[in-house]
């Protein structure tokens, strides 16, 4: 009897399945991709690769379609744990677009084949699911849930090319530092809960507004400490100075498609949650936290831009540039007005577009030569391959803020929001950062167009992993029906996650993705007397580069659709 009475009071949370669909699609898609990845034997490797990628793209596309459909309907789901409003939906669309681009870039990358295609794409989908949860979060618990769900797959993905020491190192570094950030965040969230007595953002905001905190906001040490620790936790994820140190190292070591994914989607998620937290939860204390956050933004802009000046690796340059850009966007959050939120979301969208073009060009260049990530590796790209040179040039010009590109429009709107909100000095700092940034963006453009090509020291990923059509050792590209391990059908041909073993004694182990990478290079390189490896330009990578650089110019000249879209974001938060 008591049992029946007890269970009668058990109600699950109210779930609005319709609005929850975008997140569910991502999760469901991830599970499907995971299972497909485990199917079949080694012969089906190439088909597995393409099918999992296809399903992943379909999952992202389906989530975008649903998000467009449920636009304009703000709902709170799962008993107020998540809020699917226009801000969350816009950011979800950005994540999904970034995911699609990352899948296309990973299609024939060594990372996906090393780690196993199913696992790789499933982890990406789970990460985007975490991002969606994070930016919809309405209470501290779901915020942390989303935060971890987004981060943990990324730790693994960074290390997914585990045959390469740099990748493992970057994954480990990200794991350790990311965990420190998460722990700090959790501690801070706990203190905020302790001081305000509630985990819901709305209640926290009400508590601060009504002044029920012990001795007011300034006088409540528990709340302030919690707030500080929360800022630190978010700062780690958004690579805001001085917690940005991990960014260049992790970006450089990680497989480039994952770097592209992290640089765009993760930053969008981190800034999205900063907007939610600061412009919703603690907005009443704006005059207290705004100066501190403005100072952090200033330091970030300076540190990020100055740090990039001495780099020679493209991914490190983009890492530091990302730190600087995070500073610009943080300035938009600082203002605390509707215009500031609009400007930040607009810049996030443009930031995605600008960076993807550059990363796609880097991926393609790394497929062609082993120093593809270096400034020496892109020298003479203008003459060698205009299809990559122009997207890279347009991306660099856009990031610098040259008119005619989305970078200019984004900076214009940010400066507009800052001057409007009374932060003209921060606008001056923003353009100061832009001036400094010219030093390294122009260096990249100069390398592409104004320097002579340097001979390639080694073959690129494409050839080394046997995916090149012109490469000797008898392996055909998977599209042509061959498989990387032409004669090795044994245990060595399955990725270890699926049970294969790299040390298995298979005859063909030396030809393809074998542990003796150097041996393979030697074997392959001897077939080529010329210093340049003949590798195919992967069409899907070039497609990503061209589409995003075309978008960079198109939205730079006709930005009105983007303005209309992001206007919903600020309105959704009910700011002025």
């Amino acid at each position: 009897m008591t049992l029946a009475l007890a269970t009668a009071h058990l109600h699950g949370p109210h779930i609005d399945w319709g609005s929850f669909m975008p997140i569910l699609i991502l999760g469901g898609g991830a599970l499907i991709v995971l299972i497909i990845g485990l199917l079949g034997g080694p012969v089906a490797e190439s088909i597995r690769a393409r099918v999992t990628a296809l399903v992943a793209i379909m999952a992202f596309a389906a989530s975008i379609v649903i998000e467009i459909n449920i636009f304009h309907h703000q709902t709170s789901i799962i008993s107020g744990a998540l809020r699917i409003d226009d801000l969350a939906l816009i950011l979800d669309m950005l994540f999904a677009v970034s995911g699609i681009a990352a899948v296309l870039l990973s299609l024939r990358s060594p990372a996906a084949s090393t780690a196993g295609h199913g696992e790789y794409y499933a982890l990406m989908l789970f990460s985007v699911m975490g991002m969606a949860v994070l930016v919809s979060a309405q209470n501290l618990v779901s915020l942390f849930l989303g935060f971890e769900l987004l981060s943990i797959p990324l730790y693994i993905l960074c290390a997914s090319e585990y045959r390469r020491e740099g990748s493992l190192e970057s994954g480990l570094k990200y794991l350790v530092i990311g965990s420190v950030g998460s722990a700090t965040l959790l501690y801070g969230l706990a203190l905020v809960y302790g001081s305000t007595g509630s985990t819901q953002f709305a209640q926290i905001a009400a508590q601060i507004h009504s002044g029920h905190l012990a001795h007011g906001v300034y006088g409540d040490p528990m709340f302030l400490t919690g707030l500080g620790l929360v800022v630190v936790g978010f700062a780690f994820k958004a690579s805001v100075a001085p917690f940005h140190q991990w960014t260049p190292d992790v970006y450089e070591g990680a497989p480039t498609p994952i770097t592209a994914f992290m640089a765009t989607a993760t930053k969008a998620a981190a800034l999205g949650v900063l907007i939610r937290f600061f412009d919703v939860a603690v907005i009443s204390a704006h005059h207290k936290w705004a100066p501190a956050l403005a100072a952090i933004a200033t330091i970030t802009i300076i540190v990020g831009n100055v740090g990039a000046l001495s780099q020679t690796s493209l991914k490190r340059i983009l890492g530091y540039s990302g730190v600087g850009q995070a500073g610009y966007m943080l300035a938009g959050v600082v203002v605390g007005t509707k215009l500031g939120v609009d400007a930040t979301v607009l810049y996030l969208a443009f930031y995605l577009i600008m960076n993807m073009g550059a990363f796609a060009a880097i991926v393609a260049n790394q497929n062609a030569r082993s120093d593809g990530d270096d400034l020496a590796g892109i020298a003479g790209l203008g003459a060698r391959n205009p299809w990559l040179a122009w997207p890279l040039t347009i991306s660099m010009l856009a990031l610098a803020g040259i008119p005619g590109t989305v970078g200019f429009i984004g900076k214009f709107q940010l400066i507009h929001a800052l001057v409007n909100g009374g932060y003209t000095w921060l606008a001056i700092v923003l353009v100061l950062g832009s001036m400094i940034s010219l030093g390294y963006y122009l260096r990249v453009i100069a390398a592409v167009w104004m320097r002579a090509e340097t001979p390639s020291p080694g073959v690129g990923f494409a050839s080394r992993f046997g995916f090149g059509t012109g490469v000797g050792a008898g392996s055909l590209s998977p599209i042509a029906g061959g498989s990387p391990e032409a004669d090795g059908l044994g245990a060595g041909s399955l990725p270890p996650i699926a049970g294969g073993s790299p040390e298995a004694d298979t005859p063909g182990a030396g030809a393809g993705a074998a542990a003796a990478g150097g041996q393979a290079v030697g074997a392959v390189a001897s077939e080529h007397p010329a210093s340049r490896a003949t590798s195919p330009g992967y069409p899907e990578v070039t497609l990503v580069a061209v589409v995003f650089s075309a978008a960079t110019i198109a939205f730079g000249v006709f930005p009105s659709p983007m303005f209309t879209l992001v206007a919903h974001a600020g309105r959704a938060l009910g700011l002025h």
């Binding site: 203008g382 008119p403 001057v419």
Partner: protein
């Protein structure tokens, strides 16, 4: 025939040449496009009504509605002649370039095309944000032109040029946005960047001061004037000749035009407040540019520093805040463009005949086997030093007349020294290159057809202008009066009061020099 076609035709021709035509025909597309644009500009000048002071041929469409930015173009007395000069300068540059072979010609001519569209857009723009867009955009093609096809040490020089210029331009961006925001918030109107609307929304004095400073820095770096000229020697030396001719000819004028279009009408209090400082900066530039041009051993740098001096004169004329001074400045903008372009071509021609060296010490006696070239060079040189009878003389006379009326009559003495110095460096260049003993490395030959195609039309235009400067003065008079009046009206400074008590000079005074020549 709208201004939109005028502005975007060069870029369209450049894109056709870059994407659709084979590499050998890229120059054809560029030449055809630039000549067609000259034709369209002539049609606009012909249809322009001289008596009116408002905007004509207006195109006004909303570009970004939430920011109040309009795609607004229009012609009035300030820019009608400048667009014609701009198209002529670009046509001359492209014709000169078409006579030579370049690597990757598609991208080469595309850069010129983009630059021309951006410059024309900057001249026609009637919206502050649109002006800033075109102003920043017109620099980028020169980064590529310099860096890919330039001389030695080109990458460092062009990076320095771009960063220097964009420092000023980014400050101008903040100032421009602040203008729109402050104007709309102080007058409680929706935000707008249209210049005609902003003129009705004056800013507070403190805002005007810092915003003026930012705009001034941006424009001064572009021209360049002392002390923002650090990029000049390396930058000018690194550019290929067609690019430096166009850069010196017309890009510097966009900056001077910016003062007239934006700074004087929108920030009148600050213009008067900073008048003395700007006059001093202009004067120092005149003197310093003249002195260095007189002593530098490199022929290209003589022309480069003479540009500094000439732009100093133009800014001097603008900041007299008188109609004569401004008219003089406008006509000098056109004159200097017409003169400096063939002068760079002459320097290049001389260098080609001196074993490739641009040092004056290596030149000499080139006129002996190239009399036609020497004659053309002489006409250009005499125009540079503002020989009475040339249009440059009319311009400088007007500027000095305006200076006499302004705050610093004593400046007249120093400016006069600048005029005399111009004769010194211009004649030095000519004599050292063309006359005197034949230089050791010199093998002179007569002017080639491809050089003549670019130089001769410009010389003819210089001569036409010399005989009929009224062509320019008549069209710009009403707009100049309006601009100067706007800069003088709301001030309460004693300096301005003194200026307004001097007897008003009728426009008829300006016609004095021109009626000597038959009309």
């Amino acid at each position: 025939m709208t201004l939109t076609i005028l502005i975007w035709l060069p870029l369209a021709a450049g894109l056709i040449g870059a994407l659709l035509l084979p590499a050998q025909l890229a120059r054809v597309a560029a030449v055809v496009g630039s000549l067609a644009t000259v034709g369209i500009a002539i049609s606009f000048v012909a249809r322009f009504h001289s008596g009116r002071s408002g905007l004509q041929f207006v195109t006004d469409r909303v570009w970004i509605s939430s920011l109040g930015i309009h795609y607004k173009l229009g012609l009035d007395g300030l820019n009608v002649l400048l667009i014609l000069i701009a198209t002529i300068v670009f046509a001359a540059g492209i014709l000169y370039a078409a006579g030579q072979e370049w690597d990757n010609p598609r991208v080469f001519y595309l850069n010129f095309a983009l630059a021309e569209s951006a410059v024309l857009g900057a001249f026609c723009a009637q919206d502050l944000a649109l002006f800033v867009v075109f102003f920043d955009l017109m620099l980028i093609p020169f980064y590529f032109l310099s860096g890919i096809w330039g001389g030695e040490d080109r990458i460092r020089a062009t990076t320095k040029l771009v960063i220097y210029t964009l420092i000023g331009s980014f400050l101008m961006l903040v100032a421009a946005i602040a203008t729109g925001v402050i104007a709309s918030s102080e007058h409680h109107t929706p935000i707008t960047f249209v210049i005609s609307q902003l003129q009705g929304l004056p800013l507070s004095h403190t805002s005007q001061i810092w915003i003026f400073a930012c705009f001034a820095v941006a424009f001064l770096v572009k021209m360049p004037l002392v002390p923002f000229h650090g990029w000049l020697p390396d930058g000018y030396k690194a550019m290929p000749i067609p690019a430096v001719a166009v850069f010196s000819g017309i890009l510097s004028k966009v900056a001077a035009y910016g003062f007239l279009r934006i700074v004087l009408p929108l920030f009148p209090y600050a213009s008067v407040h900073f008048q003395t400082l700007m006059l001093i900066i202009a004067l120092v530039s005149v003197l310093w540019g003249t002195v260095v041009a007189m002593t530098t051993p490199d022929a290209r740098l003589v022309v480069a520093y003479s540009s500094v001096a000439q732009l100093g004169f133009i800014v001097l004329g603008i900041f007299t805040l008188t109609p004569q001074g401004t008219q003089g400045a406008l006509i000098q903008m056109a004159n200097h463009a017409l003169v400096t372009v063939p002068l760079f071509f002459v320097v290049a021609a001389a260098a080609m005949r001196a074993g490739g060296s641009e040092k004056l010490a290596d030149m000499g006696g080139i006129a002996f086997r190239a009399p036609l070239l020497a004659t053309l060079a002489l006409i250009v040189t005499l125009a540079t030093l503002a020989m009475p009878g040339s249009s440059n003389f009319v311009g400088e006379f007007n500027i000095l007349l305006g200076l006499f009326d302004s705050k610093l009559p004593i400046a007249l003495i120093a400016a006069g020294a600048g005029v005399t110095g111009a004769a010194a460096y211009a004649l030095r260049l000519y004599i050292r290159a063309m006359h005197n003993r034949v230089g050791a490395k010199v093998t002179s030959f007569e002017i080639r057809r491809w050089e003549a195609v670019a130089i001769v039309p410009m010389v003819l235009l210089i001569l036409v202008f010399a005989f009929y400067p009224q062509f320019a003065l008549r069209r710009s008079q009403p707009s100049v009066d309006r601009t100067v009046a706007a800069a003088k009206t709301p001030s309460v400074r004693p300096g301005a009061a003194a200026a307004s008590t001097s007897p008003p000079r009728k426009p008829g005074k300006v016609r004095f020099t021109a009626t000597v020549v038959s009309k």
